[in-house]
Amino acid sequence: MTVLNLVIFLPLAGTLALLVLPRLGERAAGAFWITVTALDLALVLVLWATYGGGMDHETRVRWIPSVNASYHVGVDGLSLPMLALTSLLFLVCAVYSLGRGRAFAALFLFLQSVCLGLFSALDLLLFFVFFDLSIVGMYFVIAGWGHGDRLRSALKFFLYTFLGSLALLLGFIGLYLGSEPHTFDIVDLTAEPPLKDSPGTAALVLLAVGIGLAVKTPTVPVHTWLPPAHTDAPAAGSAILAGVLLKMGVYGMLRIAMPMLPEAWRRYAGVILVIGLVGAVYGALVALAQENVKRMIAYTSVSHMGYIVLGLGAAGMAGDAAAHRLAVAGGVTQMVSHGLLTGALFLLSGVFYDRAGAYDMGRYGGIARNAPVFAGLTAIAAFGAFGLPGLSGFIAEFQIFTGTIGGGGTATAVAGALALPGILLTAALFLRMLHRTMLGGPGPDTGRVTDLRAAETTAVVPLLALSLLIGIAPRFLLDVIEPASAVLVSLVSR
């Protein structure tokens, strides 16, 4: 049992333990949940410390030999940051959700195994298994512990993303049938890109894979499942949905679509660039019009994911390889940064609901007076989310924009310039939110908002601290990401 397998399956073992030990009390279950996730995070740090570059910590076991599918996992510079982010977010969710009960803990541990498995999968079928299970797990989180119109939102989430996942599956089968010999192995398919001689089929396969990943990311126009799912999910569920699950779409583009269909990716890079641009600006515009705090953050996620797609599209256009590397590295950094900051924002917005049962900005105001810690942490997270220098969001967005605008082509430069106002809009909407909730005169529900409890503070502070660390000293992260982005750019340009 290598460390990586232990990382993936330790939470699942925790789920089983919670299921078969029904005598465990609610408090003990919470403590157990925190212990398992903390142990898992420690194991990921071991993984990081012993990472030797390239594809490392690989395990390959035959699974369905008749279709050449195997249990193949490993980590590289793209997956390592995601594994670390995933285990950190699950740990803080465990701390935040203390007292939620045994079933909730079991479900979250299951979901953690699924997410970690997805980010280390090196087999398309294995990737798909985890991709689909993440939908099932999140469905139960929303349907079981959400609020408001949770069943409807959960169903919408399930149907939408499940449709996407089936499109993805058809694309994967297309890749399988296009390879010679037929295989589902990601490493083999990356080394020997399939469908080189049939550009028409390659375009169709990219379309199928692209639809599947776009729904999950989500990009405009297939983002409409996201706001209701976020609004009605419990705070920890929203944090995981935004912080981890949304990354699966972009991660799939980095891991599967770009290296396996390089020629098709380059041919349609312009389309991808435009989709990213529209998402970035449209998401910010719609977010500006929201009254509901959680819906607003959900739409900023659409916008933030748009920047990543923009950068990945730019990496497929003709131009300077160094700029492309920067755009891709910026995209990966943005994945981490968005996970930290939006995760923190969703946990903090959960406080509104916990105290007063409403997310409407109009019901609050002047919270900073009776809940200074809450207001302060929300302000830091909001500043980070619109890219203030000193926090991780700036590092990410700076790289994306430099890589996109500096690529040498007119199209990328124009697209980058058009996307820049998105940042201004995001700044405006976050400042507006701070004004209406934290500052100014008190609203009808302000009196009910008490300051953060110890568990809530303990959960949010590490996320913001890490964002600050990346904002000030990003080398430790970029040293892992940059080699991987260089490899990816060379794979796309072949």
Binding site: R62, I64, L155, L159, L166, I173, L177
Partner: protein, 459 residues
């Protein structure tokens, strides 16, 4: 040289022997000790399973010039034996019934018919197998002797008789055109025959087989029988005859029709698309779980017809069909096992099941997600292979129709999952013990078959 070794048909003989011994024993046993018959039948099935495992190691051949002994036959033998074993176990609520023995014997005989349908490589044997698989089914449908059971049995019987005649007509036409009834002879004869006759004969013949499979346009009996017959019978008739019917269609397609001029692939593709769509649409509005499951089995028959469309064109078609059949049988029986264990027919009757019987609820969730095709359950691997076969055979549109249908099916399966986790059950029931453990077993099997699909496909 013709091979006539009765030992080649040992599994079938064990099915028959167990049925006969069970019937004789049942004549003498007192009413409250008829479970001995179940033990006899189960022993016969276990023997058949073991004999199949041994036979599967042998080379492919044809016995008595009418029974093909190949992977299709072996797989169907094994799946039917396991399914029948599960059904015998699920008969628990009928224990002590005056006609308990008859239930077991009829189940065994219908199972035998199903296996023979899959193995038949001669039209006349296929017809005999069709009757053997159907007639015990009619009696089973009316087992409870109540109004709804009688209506179901009558509907089942009339439809089966009508389409059986149609099947016989089709066979006559193919015999006339192909100058033989054995598949190898027919394949040669029909390749040179005029397309019109072949097409007409094929359509008429397919009608009977689609009736067994519960596919459009012969699906009308499925919901009525599933709702009207006792639940254990419903579990049986929506699973086992379907296996035989689909395997028979597949064999006919790959061994006889493959080389004919008739455009049968398009016909089957359209029927498959119609079956899955109609089953799914009809399942949307159902509040009775047995009717819901009935329409779900119709839609599953549609998915199962897809490998038939590409039979002979794609190497994936045969493993896809066989694996999907096994996965479907286990998962469908698991869902019915939950219905039998809990005893409620209404969707509302399942409110709060998770509190009262958490493992039963979990099994139901696994089975329903399995029927959707969520990994890592067995049906997912089956669907994957079916998708692969369809794309490989050039039927991309059918794969897309299937994907859209799968998404649509999520809606009604989730309608059943949602109430399970509602607050508290207003229905004070105790789940049936054996049926509960069988439901858990089936759900576990469905998961295990999915995770260990590599090993299963290697067989």
């Amino acid at each position: 040289m013709m091979r006539e070794n009765p030992a080649d048909l040992l599994p079938e003989l064990l099915f028959l022997g167990a049925a006969v011994c069970g019937l004789v024993a049942g004549l003498w046993l007192p009413r409250d000790r008829q479970r001995i018959v179940a033990a006899v039948c189960a022993a016969g099935l276990a023997g058949a399973l073991a004999a199949t495992a041994l036979a599967a190691r042998g080379p492919e051949m044809t016995a008595f010039e009418a029974f093909a002994l190949d992977p299709v036959t072996h797989a169907v033998r094994a799946v039917v034996a396991v399914s029948a074993l599960l059904v015998l176990g699920l008969a628990g609520p009928l224990r002590g019934h005056p006609r308990e023995t008859e239930l077991y014997v009829l189940v065994l005989l219908a199972s035998l018919g199903s296996v023979m349908m899959a193995a038949a490589s001669d039209l006349l044997v296929l017809m005999a197998a069709y009757l053997l698989a159907s007639i015990p089914g009619y009696a089973l449908a009316g087992f409870a002797k109540d109004a709804r059971g009688t209506e179901a049995a009558l509907k089942y019987f009339l439809m089966g008789a009508l389409l059986g005649i149609s099947m016989l007509t089709g066979m006559t036409m193919l015999y006339g055109a192909g100058r033989g009834t054995a598949y190898p002879v027919l394949a040669d004869g029909l390749a040179a025959a005029p397309g019109g006759v072949v097409a007409a004969g094929t359509v008429a013949l397919l009608a009977g087989l689609l009736f067994k499979a519960g596919a459009v346009p012969a699906q009308y009996w499925v919901p009525d029988v599933t709702e009207g017959a006792p639940p254990v019978v419903a579990a049986f008739v929506t699973t086992v005859p379907k296996i035989g019917g689909l395997a028979a269609v597949f064999r006919l397609a790959s061994e006889v029709l493959d080389r004919t001029a008739a455009d049968w692939r398009v016909l089957v593709a359209v029927l498959a698309a119609a079956t899955m769509t109609l089953g799914n649409l009809a399942a949307f509005g159902q509040d009775n779980v047995r009717r819901l499951l009935a329409y779900s089995t119709v839609s599953q028959a549609g998915y199962l017809l897809v490998p038939v469309v590409v039979a002979g064109d794609s190497g994936l078609a045969e493993p896809a069909l066989l694996f999907y059949l096994a996965a479907y049988a286990v998962t469908n029986l698991g869902a019915f096992a939950v219905v039998i264990a809990w005893g409620a027919d209404d969707l509302t009757g399942y409110t709060g099941l998770a509190r009262r019987a958490p493992w039963l609820a979990l099994s139901l969730v696994v089975c329903l997600l399995g029927l959707i095709g969520t990994p890592p359950t067995a049906v997912f691997v089956g669907k994957l292979l079916v998708f692969g076969a369809a794309l490989d055979g050039g039927y991309a549109w059918l794969a897309v129709v299937m994907a859209v249908n799968t998404v649509a099916s999520v809606f009604y399966y989730l309608r059943w999952v949602v109430p399970l986790y509602r607050a508290r059950s207003p229905f004070p029931r105790t789940p049936h013990r054996t049926a509960t453990s069988l439901a858990i077993t089936a759900a576990g099997l469905s998961l295990a078959l999915g995770v260990a699909s590599g090993a299963a496909l290697a067989l």
